[in-house]
């Protein structure tokens, strides 16, 4: 049990816990905060996997920008009280049971895969560095990159269409 492993298990537990808290928190604001915390934990995993660029992006874009946007919206709507009406109990139960079954089936299906002993290299490896990623992004992946700009344009137009007051 080296430090990486300890960190992995710790982070994993924390991730799962905070993810669960996202689901069970009654107050939407808490949910958002727990989600941000989850993202931090996942970012921690990225660090472990030496994916530095993604770590940064995850913190800035996800935890920083996106989640703050969520928070704004929730605040804007004044949803910060735990007023959300509950679903029918049996519906919730059905949801949990269905999800549990899915997890069970997934795990059962994947528990004996051929690559299960393969190692995801931690701490080392330089593919997660900004330099390498940048090179790849603007050489091999320039077309998808440009395409994603179209996506953004369309999202922008869309947001304007939806948001503009008539």
């Amino acid at each position: 049990m080296n430090i990486t492993q300890i960190l992995f298990w710790f982070l994993s537990a924390l991730t799962v816990f905070s993810a669960l808290m996202v689901v069970v928190s009654k107050n939407p604001v808490f949910s958002v905060l727990w989600l941000i915390f989850t993202f931090f934990c996942i970012s921690g995993h990225y660090i472990l996997l030496n994916a530095q660029f993604l770590f940064i992006v995850n913190i800035i874009v996800y935890a920083g920008a996106i989640m703050v946007l969520f928070l704004f919206v929730i605040m804007l709507m004044n949803l910060n009280k735990s007023s959300e009406p509950k679903k029918h109990r049996w519906l919730r139960m059905a949801g949990v049971v269905a999800g549990g079954c899915l997890l069970l089936v997934f795990v059962a299906a994947l528990k004996n895969i051929d690559i299960k002993k393969q190692i995801a290299e931690t701490n080392t490896g330089d593919i997660g560095l900004i330099q390498n990623l940048g090179k790849a992004l603007f050489s091999d992946y320039v077309v998808p990159f440009e395409i994603s700009s179209i996506l953004f344009l369309s999202a922008m137009v869309g947001a304007v269409v939806i948001g503009k007051k008539e």
Partner: protein
């Protein structure tokens, strides 16, 4: 590649046009003109004239199949513009933006018909989806439109999650996103790969609204402004099918026995739910939504069969289905009352519209002499060709019989029921476009080779 770039550019152009140009007719004509040019450059590309040669590192590849499909899509969209673009004005104020979004969607369609990488597939599907969420909700004051938009968005995002999980699992198994290398570089029979395939299957089934992932379809098609329902029920849906068949032929083609049964089941369930549920609908618009599910069931047979016939057939089916449905929607948009009763005595009020609508409905029902028949025929032939699961073929034709029931209800209402008929304003251009559309459907119904020929030459 010509079309891909041009559609993106046109999207931007339309985006600007909305505040640079004040007259809506100019915007509309610009869009029609632009689309026509897209169609032209796409046809040019089919004849080997490529304006832009971009190295996509094997992520995008325009083969004849993709190009021909794109041609069908652009042509259908052109007819859609001709018939219905005027009616977009009624939806909201953002006339130019609607065109921009549609062009972006077309760009996404071009991608999803020609991807060789899961990444492009993902981006293509998203470029299609995101503008659609907007278009669905574009009637902002209408609660139904809002609701449809939100439902579509939530369910769509959920299915995106499934698709990404699938892609991730496949990546884990093969180490590549390329669809053509996948089977050579990994172990395609590993549980990881199969699980990924299943998830991709689910999300694609969602996009094509195949049961049991179809639930969004009736609500969204019903809630969306009719003019956009027309677009998404036709062009977008067949685009998803092309993506589906491309994905499953490239990536999973050689493990067909692994998924054939599942697809067959999905097909059967889709046919069943689509047709049976459509029977009891009271609104033609919602009936058409269910009908699109049942038509999806037929198109699923191409995925199930996955042979040369299936691809030819899917092209023909796309054309037949798009054209007929666009036609019906074009008429439906003009009406105020979407219920079946609303069509009563329509033939007295508008004989031409009624006659063409009848042809469209007959085509959807798969009556010979219309393109709908031959396309169904191709599907059945492809499915029978596999030699497996013959029950599927028989079940499919029985469901086709059920489909007669609801399509003919409209015809009955138009011709045989008493009533006053809704007054409809239809311009001469609109009428001629309808006639043109009906003519194409009949010509394709007699000489499908006019279309399929392009696949090979």
């Amino acid at each position: 590649m010509n079309a891909l770039l041009l559609t993106a550019v046109l999207g931007v152009v339309m985006m600007f046009s909305s505040f640079l140009l004040s007259k809506k007719s100019i915007i509309r004509n610009l869009a029609i003109l632009g689309l026509a040019s897209v169609l032209v450059v796409n046809i040019l590309e089919m004849s080997g004239i490529i304006f832009f040669k971009i190295d996509t590192k094997g992520m995008i590849f325009f083969d004849r199949f993709a190009l021909l499909f794109n041609t069908i899509v652009f042509a259908s969209t052109l007819i859609y513009f001709l018939l219905s673009s005027r009616d977009m004005e009624k939806v909201g104020t953002n006339y130019g933006e609607y065109f921009a979004l549609i062009f972006f969607i077309l760009c996404g369609i071009t991608l999803s018909s020609s991807f060789r990488s899961l990444l492009i597939l993902f981006l293509g599907i998203e470029i299609i989806s995101i503008p659609l969420y907007i278009l669905t909700g574009s009637d902002k004051k209408n609660l139904k439109s809002n609701e449809a938009s939100l439902k579509y968005f939530l369910l769509g995002a959920f299915s995106t999650g499934l698709m990404l999980m699938g892609i991730a699992l496949i990546y884990g198994s093969t180490g590549t996103f390329s669809t053509v290398d996948a089977t050579t570089s990994g172990s395609p029979t590993s549980a990881l790969f199969i699980a990924g395939m299943l998830l991709l299957m689910f999300s694609m089934a969602f996009k094509v609204s195949a049961a049991p992932f179809h639930f969004w379809t009736p609500d969204v098609y019903d809630g969306a402004p009719t003019v956009f329902t027309s677009f998404m029920a036709t062009i977008v849906k067949v685009a998803a099918f092309i993506a589906f068949i491309r994905l499953f032929s490239d990536e999973f083609g050689n493990i067909q026995p692994r998924w054939q049964l599942l697809i067959a089941l999905i097909t059967a369930v889709t046919l069943f739910i689509g047709n049976i549920t459509a029977v009891f609908q009271q609104s033609v618009k919602r009936m058409l939504a269910y009908s699109s599910i049942s038509q999806a069931g037929f198109m699923m047979m191409a995925i199930y069969a996955m042979n040369a016939d299936a691809k030819e057939g899917l092209l023909l089916y796309s054309a037949a289905y798009c054209l007929a449905t666009i036609g019906i929607f074009a008429v439906l948009i003009k009406l105020k009352d979407y219920s079946f009763e609303g069509f009563n005595a329509f033939s007295k009020q508008q004989p031409l519209l009624a006659a063409t609508t009848t042809i469209f409905l007959l085509s959807l029902a798969g009556i010979p002499l219309t393109a709908g028949f031959l396309s169904k025929f191709y599907m059945l032939r492809a499915a029978a060709m596999t030699g497996k699961y013959l029950w599927l073929v028989i079940f499919a034709v029985l469901m086709a019989v059920v489909s007669i029931y609801y399509y003919f209800r409209v015809i009955q209402a138009m011709y045989f029921k008493e009533g006053n008929g809704q007054t409809v304003e239809a311009s001469i251009g609109f009428k001629w476009s309808l006639i043109l559309l009906a003519a194409i459907i009949i010509i394709l119904g007699i000489f499908p080779n006019l279309l399929i020929y392009w696949l090979y030459f």
